[in-house]
Symmetry: C2
Subunit: 424 residues, 2 copies
């Protein structure tokens, strides 16, 4: 009997109606003959409400107790889901992350899974039951304290359980019909992708696509667990993410270009007048690293021969911008630059596709499309299967649309439907 | 260093303000040099809201998943309380029932504590921390499933932890100033009791007093843990419940009468025309027991010599009334009675006090007071330290007041303050 892991996000179980709809979907999978393990997020806004409550009693927004608080949300949704399934005449048992054997390190609020020992889940399945597991949470190996996995944690729980239980597929149910060739809110003619490789999905995720988080896809690739991203509202087939297209599925060929992603959450920092000598870049990025800031794109051009000075730019999450500027200013003398420029009115547009490796025209087509639309390019960064540019934020929607059209990604119709918010 | 267990009910932590007020009170105890273990209920209406949600997705209102759902409430309140204490500069750690070592049987929704292994609590105390424990919940010894302790469960958690940790006292913080000689909502001149014995408190609890539940007091008596019931709002000294008054505390002598309790939640069933022969009562109460009904008072008077028939009356929770009538009707022929009478417009008034054992005038004074007020007595039942009567429900408030006055229990002023709802 094949085993399926299904994950439902917060928007899919936002209220009692949502829970009942999801319960029916789970029972359908069971009736089709699968063993079913379900990972569920907290209902709708529950987590935000808990965070609000916490802010009223304490300025502390991290640590052991914060994790204990936040994990209450999944406890509620998983118990309700199990009860709803039982009322449909099927046996279900719910398990906390700890009970499900999700073992993590001790870094509260963004713990990493280090082992999964799903003995109780396996026992529930062996008895013919459906197992419901709290997403987003685990238990620390050392202290046996409750931990949370941070952003996208429930998806990671699902993939980790799928790997530990040797599942056939990990189905991630969300409020969109799958992964699209661009954000359907920006590009009305975005197409749903039937199949995408782990590699391309990873690039999309790190370029601003929010359907799957990088961490979850990385985990799935490591253990070779196919992910099927689909809507809990429509029930339509969604997007398969795996190493290879499924055998016999003609539609699922490697596309030249998988999609266009964009990201408006970053800011650009430019360090002006850096002496062009060894060790300068190292000093700058050591400073940034010491401040525990995650940077994204880094660009340095050749220096002007006349001055011996160069400019270095990087992008990072806008929320970290102030800290980066402060950290750099403090070491201005040691590093020896002229000045800093900070710009948070930027956007990043990325074209992703393994096909571009063997197709030299891609870069040219990309830049021509932007140029024809009058979009100015401020930074460029490329990998083997991705090209990213930074532009003015005001231009981003137009830029995504023209690039999407230029690479023939437009659908004949406007097929995307967005059903709700996003889970965690 | 002496160890104090404090328990705060749902009304004490109904909102962020309540949590902050309770956090300050806990820190004060710590500053006075105590080791402090705190048991906390779910915030205000949280549990009711979860029950409402459950009723929307499933008709099932019991079992493993229901317990998993309900225990989310304490997880929220205990984490917030720990965070609030930390923001006051003291170290606190929260523990679920399972983490605190509250081991129960496997009877979901009304599990019984069978062992307490508070190793993690002790370790937290040894490190100088305040330990916050979720009330009302435990983990089953056999299946390692989450269980709840049923009504009054948090008080029982507190007493059980106090026993296991050899605490000096178990302080039960609630929304009234202590145990009163009568319900202050009925008797304005009710007096707060400074000290009451376990025995009298047990009788009051089973006679309708709701401040402490029978089960919690029984546990405290078994392990000889003094309970101090007091208000989390006023901070005044409350009522001590223990085996003996504390040495040197003159005010705490055994009173003749501890108090007057009343209960309007019961119904009266009368079985009319029962043959007065051996085995009849047994057949009746076996029938009731088979229907899993808990009966309270049972009264049978001598039979009328002329008929050889007698009447048997009993009281039971009104919510069980219908089941009792149905069960008895089904066995009418076997038992051989004439008819059944059911009356849910009754109330029970009880006078409690160990002093009455040695004071023969108590019963007379009690009945005279009721008679003078025109209150008709329908049933009488007595124990060594309690007299209970059943009257019309319409008469109950007046009956309680006149009895309270007749035994000199009236305070000179109206001292009782009721601050909020009641926790669980």
């Amino acid at each position: 009997m094949s085993l399926v892991v299904q994950k439902y996000g917060g928007s899919s179980v936002a209220d009692a109606e949502g829970i009942k709809r999801v319960a029916k979907r789970i029972v359908e999978a069971k009736k089709r003959g699968h063993q079913v393990v379900v990972v569920v997020s907290a209902m709708g806004d529950t987590t935000d409400e808990l965070i609000d409550l916490a802010s009223e009693v304490s300025p502390i927004t991290s640590g052991r107790e914060y994790d204990m608080l936040l994990t209450a949300g999944e406890r509620i949704s998983m118990a309700l889901l199990a009860m709803s399934i039982k009322s449909l005449g099927h046996e279900a048992q719910s398990f906390t992350g700890s009970q499900a054997g999700v073992i993590t390190d001790s870094v509260h609020n963004k713990a990493r899974i280090i082992d999964v020992t799903p003995g109780r889940i396996q026992a529930a399945l062996d008895e013919g039951n459906i197992a419901i597991v709290a997403g987003f949470q685990g238990v620390s190996q050392d202290s046996k304290d409750i931990t949370t996995l941070g952003r996208g944690g429930s998806d990671t729980t699902a993939v980790a359980l799928a790997a530990a239980l040797n599942a056939e597929v990990c189905e991630i149910y969300t409020d969109v019909d799958g992964v699209f060739t661009a954000d359907p809110r920006v590009v009305k003619k975005a197409r749903k992708i039937d199949w995408i490789s782990f590699g391309d999905m990873l690039e999309l995720a790190s370029s601003g696509s929010k359907v799957l988080l990088h961490r979850c896809v990385e985990y799935a690739r490591r253990y070779n667990i196919p992910i099927h991203v689909r809507s809990s509202f429509s029930g339509l087939p969604g997007t398969w993410v795996s190493n290879e297209p499924r055998v016999g599925d003609d539609a699922m060929e490697q596309a030249l270009i998988s999609g266009v992603a964009h990201d408006t959450s970053e800011a650009k920092v430019t360090i002006v007048g850096v002496p062009d000598k060894p060790g300068e870049a190292a000093a700058i990025f050591r400073t940034v690293a010491d401040a525990e800031l995650n940077i994204d794109m880094v660009v340095q051009n050749v220096s002007a021969a006349s001055t011996g000075l160069t400019d270095i730019s990087f992008t990072l999450p806008r929320t970290d911008g102030k800290k980066a500027i402060e950290a750099l200013e403090r070491r201005k003398a040691q590093i020896g630059f002229d000045s800093l420029r900070y710009d948070d009115q930027v956007a990043k547009i990325s074209l992703v596709g393994a096909g571009m490796k063997t197709n030299p025209g891609v870069t040219a087509t990309f830049f021509e499309a932007l140029s024809n639309a009058g979009v100015n390019i401020e930074l460029i960064s490329t990998s083997e299967i991705r090209i990213s540019v930074v532009t003015r934020q005001d231009d981003v929607n137009e830029a995504v649309r023209v690039v999407h059209t230029a690479f023939g990604l437009d659908s004949d119709s406007e097929e995307a439907v967005v059903y709700g918010g996003t889970g965690r």
